[in-house]
Point group: D3
Chain length 179, copies 6
């Protein structure tokens, strides 16, 4: 059985990785789609698909790498064509893992089995909160896999976010209890 999981991974954090591993444990093969692949250098999508691809490679084990396919796919901004757009890029798959209502609804309508992943709580890991912390120079490194932390430092992620127009702001108290 081949699974599909979609994320933007801006950046890849430990919650993403747990969800990928939960999905992978139930499949023979897993396709990890990097969504919004052509976007970068914005507040919401600061990192290129290539950088996010490298985050995934560096966080997977060799065994995982041999059965997980990483595929960047651009937004089409036409949700009525989204499933066909994704299908046209990928080898056949059987089940879609997603916690997004829209993704679940569109794939279910197209006849796919759709499952939740349970592994992470958005209160514990949130890419939005991690971006806020990076921009605000607060502690974030423990929320992402070690190789991702090193990579974000090497590309000067904080400057990237400031260049994209982010302002350092204090936490609103939500997100990432895992501190």
């Amino acid at each position: 059985m081949r699974g599909l999981i979609v994320g933007r991974f801006q950046p890849l954090h430990k919650g993403h990785l747990a969800a990928i591993r939960e999905a992978f444990s139930k499949c023979d093969d897993l396709i990890v789609v990097i969504g919004s692949a052509e976007d970068s250098h914005t507040e919401r999508n600061p990192f290129t698909a290539g950088e996010r691809f490298q985050m995934l490679i560096s966080s997977l084990t060799p065994k995982e790498r041999s059965r997980i396919f990483i595929v960047p796919i651009r937004d089409l901004n036409r949700f009525s064509l989204w499933v066909s757009h994704v299908e046209s890029h990928l080898p056949p798959f059987d089940v879609v893992f997603s916690n997004s209502d829209l993704t679940r609804s569109l794939f279910a309508k197209a006849g796919y089995e759709v499952r939740h992943t349970k592994a992470y709580n958005p209160k514990d890991y949130s890419a939005t909160e991690i971006r806020r912390r990076i921009a605000s120079d607060e502690k974030w490194e423990h929320l992402v896999p070690g190789p991702v932390a090193r990579m974000l430092e090497s590309v000067d992620a904080r400057q990237r976010l400031l260049d994209a127009g982010m302002k350092p702001v204090p936490s609103k108290g939500g997100g990432c209890r895992a501190r």
Copy 2:
């Protein structure tokens, strides 16, 4: 060292596979880009990126699959942006394997090391010739890896090519001596 090789794989044939293996033998990791990824159902690009992805997966060994990344990338039709477009989708790479003058020239201008692959002679293996043979109901199965032959039969490749407007035509004597 990470290598990059680009092809359209319409369809994947034994010459492509030899070139991929030659490039892979010189690298730690290899990225195989499926070009013209959004095109399908035309004479020149009959198969979807997803079908071509499946051709590659089914023809690689498990060991190869663990160090080869398959990435579909759409045409941008702006050659002056082509290298940046490719880079934005991919983890860093060091060397580009290509026999196309334009690809070599664009990547060389952007500072990449560019190498030829020597493994196949376009007189022996040519996707254009294979498409002609499929449409014309001539022998073609020996020119592609076994799993690709089976897959092309299962999707009724001949009908696909006829639907796309191909006409059965006799060989012009060029291409694919490997008969």
Copy 3:
């Protein structure tokens, strides 16, 4: 004389229908353009052009259907080309019915006669307010034509809006006095 009226119809409500009928009463033929035709599954544009097309068909009388042309047109996001874009899709028309300042200004500059429709007060009928009510499970059915109400129920409009990211929120007191 042939008239033109443009709307997004997200969803079609009784105010839209009154405006269409007011415009139609002054013309021999009327073109009803479904704007933002390629958008769907978003908060602002939840329904596909096809669904909106069906809303219009099901709300018009047979006589109206024989003299009203329904034409979905995508956004070009280039207002300086908007009139030419619309014209390129349509048979000739003489007068534009619109209450939008921008639409009126662009068509007037291109030499068209531009008229207001008077039939509905945005305080009585507002698609934005109807979407809010649907998402919030408040009474909305009386604001749209009967066939539209049935259709919205059959496509589970509330779930569509929640999938698109809408949150149930209480009324701000504006919109739709017609309660």
Copy 4:
């Protein structure tokens, strides 16, 4: 039952009209899609969608006009998304009338009933041949409905074709026996 028929109508000729009427005779409603709707002023697509819309309106009877929907749809140039693209613009339909192998194959794969129309022989009516005749100042008016002939004269169709780069050429003996 609602049918769908697709054409480019460059220009609308008597064979098109017979096929539309054959399809309409088997349905309650018929959708006529004007394909390649954003193309015009080229050799292959000289007339705008709006002009082709007018050709259809002027050739249908009032009774036909009340049950036939004319919908211009642009090319997406992604055949794997074509059916979804068309569906997103249209109210639901049950059966597709087409003699194009690709159209038939794509709609059949998506689960639609697909039927041929038998009404016209491309040897009798061919838009390509009609364009050649117009450009070459040969007799063509009898091949199109009367209102289309008058309209083509009023827009100076011959000059349009020459502007688009067509050269007057003598017949190759194919096409349009109906002389």
Copy 5:
């Protein structure tokens, strides 16, 4: 030496003109890119590239006009390709004048010398504030070059902004001390 400076000029104000002149004083030739060239009639980009081109022409001296190239360039909305996109439109340039962090960062990464212009304080001149003043019927003419003021009046800039959806609002106290 040839310099490059990028702006949206919505509208061109005296701060822009001072920055252009500062950059020009350090170069033999200067390219002035009109960014977001395909946008117009929106709150953020009310004026067409053509109108902004005219603002620049009318504000430069003949001597400046002979060594300053004005080039409208559309947004690509892909920042990772932005520098290549700009380069593909322009003759070679040596130095980029910009106060935008993102522009500076992208051009610096591509190997260009990047310099600040010092000439204007955004507190003194701000296009956002000028648009607010125009929409709100407050004094703005002294903030733009004379020919720009006249041109904005002749195209009825206030109506343009209202058409685009701007609402008259009182100043928030920021922007444009130069009152």
Copy 6:
């Protein structure tokens, strides 16, 4: 009076320059549009807009440069919007100089005065023939302005054309009597 002249300038030759000068002699200002601005590295459009921009700058006198505006504009591939697309990029102009039937027809329909330029005979100067000569290593330098010849050599124009897929072919006897 401001004139407009459009060309692709692949490459700029002496016939183009004579036409530009003829047009300029009848105007106060002249806009020279570089068409197909986003295309490059193809047989038909080998040079980037930036390279073509530099060809123009280097061939004009300082006096001409102060009254001639060079503006690259991309193809929209929608001829029914072409005039609006061009207008949106440019300051107002009064007269269009063109020998292309389609360009003349589209601008005339939009209300512009349209004039022929008489200065060059396509039999004497033809960019198609010059590209053929460059690829075939025949004499071509005398057909272009001196600075263009030097520039084409410095970018290795022959290799550019071969990279784009051109094959050296002998003259068919047409084009460029000016040998």
